[in-house]
């Protein structure tokens, strides 16, 4: 089953925009739930986005230097189930 990893909207009072620094998991890599997938930066700090599921990273939908916004799809993790 394909699981699309999106950038969570942190809340109504913030403008959730970040920039991609680098992928921390490579295409085809097995990832466990909670493993860091990608590193982002905002004005305030650097952030990592953990994988919400265990599986294999099959798609990287954004690249280094891209601006990303809340709700945007970042990548796809294919889980074993289904």
């Amino acid at each position: 089953m394909k699981f699309t990893v999106t950038l969570t909207d942190l809340g109504e009072d913030t403008e959730d925009k970040a920039e991609v620094i680098a992928w921390m998991a490579g295409l085809g890599n097995a990832v466990q739930e909670g493993d860091d997938l990608i590193e982002l930066t905002t004005d305030k700090a650097a952030f990592t986005v953990p994988s919400p599921v265990s599986g294999v990273l099959t798609e990287q939908l954004v690249g280094e230097g891209d601006a990303v916004f809340a709700g945007q799809a970042l990548g796809v993790v294919e889980t074993e189930a289904g």
Binding site: T41, A45, A46, F47, P50
Partner: protein, 298 residues
């Protein structure tokens, strides 16, 4: 322009089931948090652990401090039902220690002290087992406002000194005096009975070692028993720039210094904020008091 950060300035972005549940719960109740308004980098960790720091009296501040990204402007009147909504959020989150802060409300006669008091009372009524911590604005130094908040018996009264004396006008804005927060803390000490008095300040704004130690001494003199020290992080291009990212080793040095100077509880680190590990901090102070035979609780 991309900002670069040292390796220790990295946090998890909010995600996952528990994070989503916290967000939905707070949204359903219309409860505001400083986690969102101040763009706190700990939001991912805290909300995933189903904890949050509530922000009452709206999300618009009557002041415009140069370190803070909370919206500045003319606020809406305080919502009369907000105390009950916050109390309900504490219950639904199952918090054992609730932390409540606010914007500054110079437009309200008591600075919002009565609203703080009602919020503490509502939390206590709905959550009799929970401890309550407030992090207040300065109320323009008004004794009656500080007394009103303390009258509801918060377990912790916090007011932040924010930075060292030399940088205070730079960080808070012209016309703000470093002595004001110390006076507020002193009032809390004098009026608070057994309430723990706490403060916090930021590093990375250009302060020196001796200035940090002077600030710690000033806080002790004002009656603080607990202190939090964290890294200033520039929220947006509109706020003060970061002078320096202070290393975790230096934070450990300041933590040890503060303990040696006599604080009962200290927490220091790059991502330490006023409410960080606040329940543990309260327990530490109570443990110290109990060991010294000073305990007033019960």
């Amino acid at each position: 322009m991309t900002r670069s950060f040292p390796e220790w300035i990295r946090r998890p972005w909010g995600s996952g089931t528990a994070f989503g549940q916290t967000k939905a719960l707070l949204g359903d109740l219309g409860v505001k948090t400083v986690c969102q308004s101040a763009r706190c980098p700990n939001q991912g960790e805290c909300w995933s652990c189903r904890t949050a720091t509530f922000m009452i009296l709206g999300t618009t501040c009557t002041r415009n401090c140069r370190f803070c990204s909370v919206r500045h402007g003319v606020p809406e009147p305080p919502a009369p039902d907000e105390p009950e909504r916050v109390a309900e959020a504490v219950a639904r989150l199952g918090l054992r220690h609730a932390v409540v802060t606010s914007v500054t409300r110079d437009d309200v006669e008591d600075g919002g002290a009565g609203h703080f008091r009602r919020t503490i009372e509502a939390i206590r009524a709905r959550n009799p087992e929970a401890t309550v911590e407030v992090l207040t604005p300065d109320f323009n130094g008004a004794r009656e406002s500080v007394a009103a908040v303390l009258g509801a018996g918060p377990d912790v009264f916090g007011h932040n000194v924010e930075t060292v004396e030399r940088l205070y006008p730079v960080v808070r804005g012209a016309g703000h005096a470093y002595r004001r927060p110390l006076d507020v803390l002193r009032l809390a000490r004098d009026l608070g009975g057994g309430t723990v008095v706490k403060s916090a300040f930021m590093l990375g704004l250009g302060e020196t070692d001796s200035e940090v130690e002077r600030t710690l001494a000033d806080l002790l003199d004002a009656g603080c028993q607990a202190v939090c020290i964290g890294q200033y992080l520039q929220p947006t291009a509109a706020q003060c720039t970061v002078h320096e990212f202070v290393s975790p080793e230096r934070f450990r040095h300041y933590e040890a210094t503060a303990r040696r100077m006599g604080f009962d509880a200290v927490v220091a680190g790059p991502f330490v904020r006023s409410s960080y590990r606040s329940g543990e901090l309260l327990e530490t102070v109570r443990g110290v008091r109990a060991a010294s035979g000073e305990g007033e609780e019960d």
